[in-house]
């Protein structure tokens, strides 16, 4: 990679010479967690010159604080902790020519003004500002936790209210005790893991409270983290008031009705000095939005095609910044697809550039048919990808909005049923996928709908509640 002072067009339109170092690469990967490392490695394997950009001091992302086991079962066929899982990838990255920038934050992604479509990243770091020109970009910035304000818990604003991940950071990275007696709101996986973690460190965990009538985390975490530690899980409950001036003193818990609204008269006060929130994760797409990437309002991740390319040509997305996964192994698998696709795009662009001005149109833009729009229906809360460009087939990833004992996948296009699955249970905590083959897509026109239909009247119907 080359470092040079470059001429670029300033926002005001005039050309200014800047003494900001500039680099070039084929594929720039933003985020050095499992998604970013997976994508970078795949792009490098495909022959690309890769730059991996990480905001923190170390690669690994959130895995660094996930010291519990359960990682790697599908990817490495063995059970690893989060840091061990991350280390496998860090070691692989080190063995390659992937260039890694740590303590570096991308603050802008711009389209290059020249004829060949490329991207210009602006990066800040303690070493200075930097510009990177690249053929394609992989977004792998991960997600953030939903906060107390987003779910609008009323009450006071004392210390002691943490998102579960922040408490995990204090405990596992900072060696600082966040409290003595915890109430956990939300049965997401981080909340469950933290219930066990706090118990192991001698904190009292009064209970886990879940708004929905079912647990939100993986079944194995409910068993390993709550049942084995005698921590009660209270369903259809929520925190309706935070009490305490300086430090949290108690929370008020209420039961909720079928519409998830608190039932007046069911309030009870639970003393605690720590409230952990595990109430959902949200893809961190502010940088992507600023770059013009359109989001799918259902996932709050980018609306991507079957190659995981966003609505900005040459910008790809994978991992939790695309949609929130339940397992790091699945993030890795998705990231490898994004990395390979980004490498292919960058290579195509390179060929187009070398072919001269006449070939400077966007790679293979003319070769593609009009993409098929993909939509969720019925109990399917979302589907990734949002469009299918390559009709040779792909997998559709989705989650259901509520658990069903007997549900059926149906994939349709207009009036034509392309696929119908066998009845089986579906849970929101488990990301599912369904293949669509080239043969099926040959019959599709305009759009493809994936729906999960609840089959009623069956023998298991009573068990749904």
């Amino acid at each position: 990679m080359t470092e040079q002072a470059v001429l670029h067009t300033s926002a005001t339109g005039g050309a200014v010479e800047e003494q900001v170092p500039s680099m070039e690469c084929d594929v720039a990967v933003i985020g050095g967690g499992p998604a970013g490392m997976g994508a970078a490695l795949a792009a490098e394997r495909a022959g690309s010159q890769v730059l991996l950009i990480e905001r923190n001091e170390h690669l690994g992302g959130i895995l660094r604080q996930c010291i519990h086991p359960g990682f790697g079962l599908s990817h490495f066929k063995e059970e690893l902790t989060g840091p061990e899982y991350a280390q496998r990838f860090i070691d692989q990255v080190k063995r390659t020519d992937i260039e890694v920038l740590t303590e570096s934050m991308v603050i802008a992604i711009d389209r290059e003004p020249d004829e060949a479509p490329g991207h210009l990243l602006t990066i800040m770091s303690p070493d200075g500002m930097r510009r990177v020109r690249c053929g394609s970009v992989v977004l792998a910035m991960g997600c953030r936790e939903r906060t107390r304000s987003e779910i609008k818990i009323p009450g006071s604003r004392p210390a002691g209210v943490f998102t579960a991940g922040l408490a995990q950071r204090y405990l596992n990275i900072e060696n600082l005790a966040p409290g003595h007696r915890a109430v956990i709101l939300g049965s997401g996986d981080i909340g469950l893991i933290m219930a066990r973690r706090l118990s192991l460190e001698g904190c009292e965990v009064e209970g886990v409270y879940e708004l929905m009538p079912y647990a939100n985390g993986l079944a194995r975490n409910v068993k390993n983290c709550l049942e084995d530690f005698g921590i009660p899980l209270h369903l259809s409950c929520t925190v309706t008031r935070i009490i305490g001036r300086g430090r949290l003193e108690a929370v008020e818990i209420s039961q909720v009705d079928d519409a998830l609204k608190p039932i007046s008269g069911t309030e009870r006060t639970v003393p605690c000095d720590m409230l952990l929130l595990s109430v959902g994760l949200i893809p961190e797409n502010e940088l992507a939005c600023a770059a013009g990437v359109q989001l799918d309002p259902r996932t709050r991740g980018a609306a991507v095609d079957d190659r995981l390319m966003t609505t900005v040509p040459g910008v790809f997305s994978c991992g939790n910044v695309l949609h929130v996964h339940d397992l790091a192994d699945n993030v890795t698998a998705e990231a490898e697809r994004a990395g390979a696709a980004a490498a292919a795009w960058a290579a195509e662009r390179q060929r187009a550039r070398q072919g001269g001005p006449g070939c400077a149109s966007e790679p293979d833009a003319d070769l593609e048919q009009v993409p098929l729009e993909v939509r969720p229906s019925g109990l399917a809360g979302y589907v990734v990808p949002a469009r299918i460009s390559d009709r040779s087939g792909c997998r559709l990833f989705f989650r259901v909005r509520k658990p069903v004992e007997r549900g059926r996948i149906r994939i349709t296009s207009g009036d034509v049923t392309l696929f119908e699955g066998k009845p089986r249970p579906f849970k929101p905590s488990c990301m599912e996928s369904a293949p669509v083959t080239g043969r099926m897509l040959a019959e599709a026109h305009g759009e493809v709908t994936l729906s999960i239909e609840e089959i009623t009247g069956g023998p298991c119907d009573d068990q749904i509640r």
Partner: protein
Amino acid sequence: MDRYDIVIVGGGIVGCAIARQLARYDLAIAVVEAANDIACGSTKANGGLVHAGYDPAPGTCKARVNARGCELYGRWSEELGFAFRRCGSMVLAFSDGDRAQLERLRVQGERNGVQGLELIGPDVIREHEPRASAEATSALWCPSTGYVDPFEVAIAAAENAAANGVAFMREAPVRAIERTGDGGFRIVTDRAAMEGRVLINAAGNECADISRMAGGETMEMAWRQGNIVVLDHEARPLMPLYPTPTPVSKGVIVTGTVHGNTVITATAHERAAGDTETYADDIEALLAGARKLVPDLDCRRVVRAFAGGRAVIRGLNDFMIRRSSCRPGLIQAAGIQSPGVASAPAIAERVEELVREEGLALAPRADWDPHRCAPTDFDTASLEQQQALIELDPAWGRIVCRCETVPEAEIVEAIRRDPGAVSVEGVKRRCRAGMGRCQSGFCQSKVVRILARELECDPWDVPLEDAGSPIVYGPVKEGR
């Protein structure tokens, strides 16, 4: 014992503005604040609007200072280097009855000295703010309305006052005020006692207590509590949009902010004194009210909800800015409810006159500097400036708060300035670290470490806000 010419009780926006105004004279001035930081009371629980001044009834104290305060904001913002946007505003009318109210407001505003008020129709409404409700049939256009970050204003005024010699004493709740032999005041606080010839009561919601201790007017306070909601950054900040007011309140207002967020402000319910809790019904009312003004508002993007109490003197429902009629030497800047932020610079001007009337010699200081050197905002600096900053100190390139792009150097500066941040929330109010969508989920532990390092204390001694709000309790395991 320290002796001052003037002791100001209360380090909110009013106390800080008064301190800044008086610092131009050759006077010994102290500000005493009960909390561990300035701008911690109603000032921080505020929507940040600089109301133009058409709202107060003509002849009231509010009416005298509101329009003048709004006018002064331009100069104050330039001198003190805080963000202020005079963007104009609209009061939206949805019926003929509303329109009649707007006409009344326009006349009232003109009597209060507000200029440029104009009734406009739907087309002009859309020109001013395309996102305003299409249901609005007319509006009162007011070009002088603006918005600020209210704690930035208070902090800027305090820093400028401190730079010009004003002493700030924080964590100093006043316990007693005695009369000295020469008719002055002896103010006993938790930290120290001091004497002052003139006492200025700018104690916000505590102004009745201070007045009582000082032998001044008897006041009874009502805690008119308001909930406020902040939404995440928008591509373009919204123009302040008001509903047609009711006799009780200005109603639920939607506004952009200097940082590009959207603020929905505020409910008004009388609640127990000191209640700063948010309430589910209030939040719902705010969101519903806001959607009426801006139908496309995405209410999922709530970043923060908070609440505070307006310092209302029961029965007066006006500011009380005057020399005490009971106790010579006591100046009341009391009952500063809404529109306190908008009025603060004019309240300071008015208090300056009152100090003169007290007979203090107001000799201008030769070395008075009206300007404050504002802290550097990395996020809005040009690429060249950013590069230069990092070359100066690599901490300018080390990101801490990713949501608001705040590097470590900005946080260090927020702590080192005078009066500097001593808490995580104090850091947030000064440089926005933790103010974004993740609400410090990613950066809080880093901010705690930086505060501990700069203040030379342990992380478990770093408070979230006041003393008694520890974030962590000590090491999990020893020997690491």
